[in-house]
Symmetry: C2
Subunit: 347 residues, 2 copies
């Protein structure tokens, strides 16, 4: 299903010991599967926190080709074992819901800041030469003063989640400056595709919209749906991660990872309904809790990443949506079931 890369000598991943934190989650599991295909020795560290999107369904058919450790990064011993001897760490573990970050701010802090600090401290003491790629978010910029937003745009985090991601970014930079741990920070735009959480509507709109369309339900578009976003298909996000993980030019840098082009919510919904063949749109007023943290139209300028690695998004929105729908079609029940249903018993 994944086309071979035309970009890069991904052969360099063969035999490499690679850790993916949050590797049972959306982007993490897509990355881990790709790394397995590339011949890497892949480890996953994931806490499988309920409602976060991590699920063993995401490694169906691959679980025996990976080492999976279910543990919280705030625990010293399992984290030490996970990083031991690793060459590259794709550090994707995190809480991504902005809404949840205002309902339970200290919960977000624990996952997005405390656990990150622990991981870096474990690296400092046990593996300071490991190459780290940390995924942050476009959301740290807040409301755009200009579009597209490049990395020199001021930071104005509009919610607790964004503040916490800024903090984790700062830790990564500091631990490189003081302790020499080589890291890159990627600020990802809205990513979509197979293995995304579609069970509830608190992790951004797109996974939820996919589910509603596929279940032939009504999709609520807030306001007039004119707000624009650049949506990135997950395989393109994985490609960016793989390129950065091997790039010396990206060490110590913060780089945007944006989509192919901006699209208005209302147009996205139209094209999603076309891809699914079901669903319908309804325009509603903004709910107060969403409006309070909405940032209007925003999309990213990825020139820095392109110049450093040659990366660019290659999957059109229509192709990405078609592949997303095709993935979920036979798996809708599994991904929409209550958290934990059908999972392996772990405790």
């Amino acid at each position: 299903m994944i086309a071979p890369s035309s970009h890069a000598p991904f052969d360099d991943y063969r035999g490499r010991r690679v850790l993916v934190t949050g590797g049972l989650g959306f982007i993490g599991s897509n990355l881990a599967r790709r790394l397995v295909d590339l011949g890497a020795e892949v480890r996953i560290l994931d806490a499988l926190v309920a409602e976060m999107g991590g699920t063993l369904h995401n490694v169906d058919g691959f679980a025996d080709r990976l080492a999976i450790r279910i543990a919280d990064m705030r625990e010293w011993d399992p984290t030490t074992l996970a990083v031991d001897g690793c060459d590259i760490i794709f550090n994707l573990a995190g809480q991504v819901s902005h809404i949840d970050s205002l309902r339970d701010p200290r919960g977000d802090l624990g996952i997005n800041v405390d656990a990150q600090l622990q991981l870096l401290d474990v690296l400092r003491h046990h593996n300071p030469r490991a190459r780290v790629v940390f995924t942050s978010t476009r959301h740290v910029y807040g409301r755009a003063q200009r579009v597209p937003v490049d990395e020199t745009h001021p930071i104005h985090p509009p919610d607790v989640n964004a503040i916490n991601k800024v903090t984790a970014e700062a830790y990564h930079r500091l631990y490189q400056e003081i302790f020499g741990i080589p890291s890159s920070i990627l600020r990802l735009t809205n990513v979509y595709g197979p293995r995304q959480l579609i069970r509830h509507n608190r992790q951004g709109f797109i996974g939820w919209f996919v589910r509603l369309a596929m279940e032939d339900r009504e999709i609520e578009v807030y306001g007039d749906g004119s707000q624009q976003r650049d949506l990135l298909f997950v395989d393109d996000a994985v490609e960016a991660l793989l390129l950065v993980g091997l790039s010396e030019a990206c060490v110590g840098r913060t780089l945007n990872v944006g989509g192919p082009e901006p699209i208005a919510h209302r147009d996205l919904v139209k094209r999603l309904i076309a891809a699914a063949g079901t669903g319908r749109a309804r325009f509603v007023d903004w709910p107060a809790d969403r409006k309070a943290i909405d940032v209007g139209s925003v999309w990213l300028d990825s020139t820095r990443l392109h110049e450093a690695t040659g990366w660019q998004p290659r999957t059109s929105l229509d192709e990405g949506l078609a592949r997303t729908v095709a993935y979920y079609r036979p798996r809708l029940a599994a991904y929409c079931a209550p958290a934990g249903a059908g999972e392996i018993e772990l405790a």
Copy 2:
């Protein structure tokens, strides 16, 4: 000992319910005592964490005119009780050692970020109209690109402590933006004076230098001692806090609080030795752990605060040092005793 203010109608503090978090610490206790003298109804919330500087010695002779609650702000119930009905909250609780923040980064995170987030969340739910004054630090700027450093200077936190203070600042701004909690952020330079921790050398140099001079010991000056700082006497810092707590013009703003003038370390040591009448200087190479987070010469531009409130530092260095030495002279044993020695038994 404290001269009456020539600045402001501090009469407005009479009868006000005022909470000082970290009120058993250095600046907090000086502020609390002043507030008591001004007729405020003063509460202190302090966790008395070992080695942080909080001590009941700091409220000697005043303890019966204050309500003291010994509790961690991360605990919901005592924090709720502490903020209940408060008009003004001087939010000074924190871990201030840069060195300790690199030895125990998650400990710093817990005190400087998690506890702050909890306090703001308690306010959001129980007292969103309370006026908050949060004390941050000059250290968030990192190495100065220009001096004096004003509030538009870029932020480049050089250690975990500074990153965590930046994060707590961001929470205060966010909770004002989203939940309407009116706050001001003060970035204080190095403050010195009575009731400062002088027991160990991990909370900045000046308290430690005072102790060494008064014990007629050798004061190690790193490098050639040419690095400059602006030192602010604690009564002037208290004056700034009091003015900002009543100032509408300061709501939603971040303001520097700097000293009267920059002075080189070597000159400071000379004048301290003169004030104490004892002690001597020795020039030594920079220890690696200090050098890694040293930021060179830096001092603050406090024009913004001056324009908003009329504040300016009024205590000269020589006067401040003389008053500091006079305070510690009869109390040196109490302030240098091992943590907890001579304290009231609290548990």
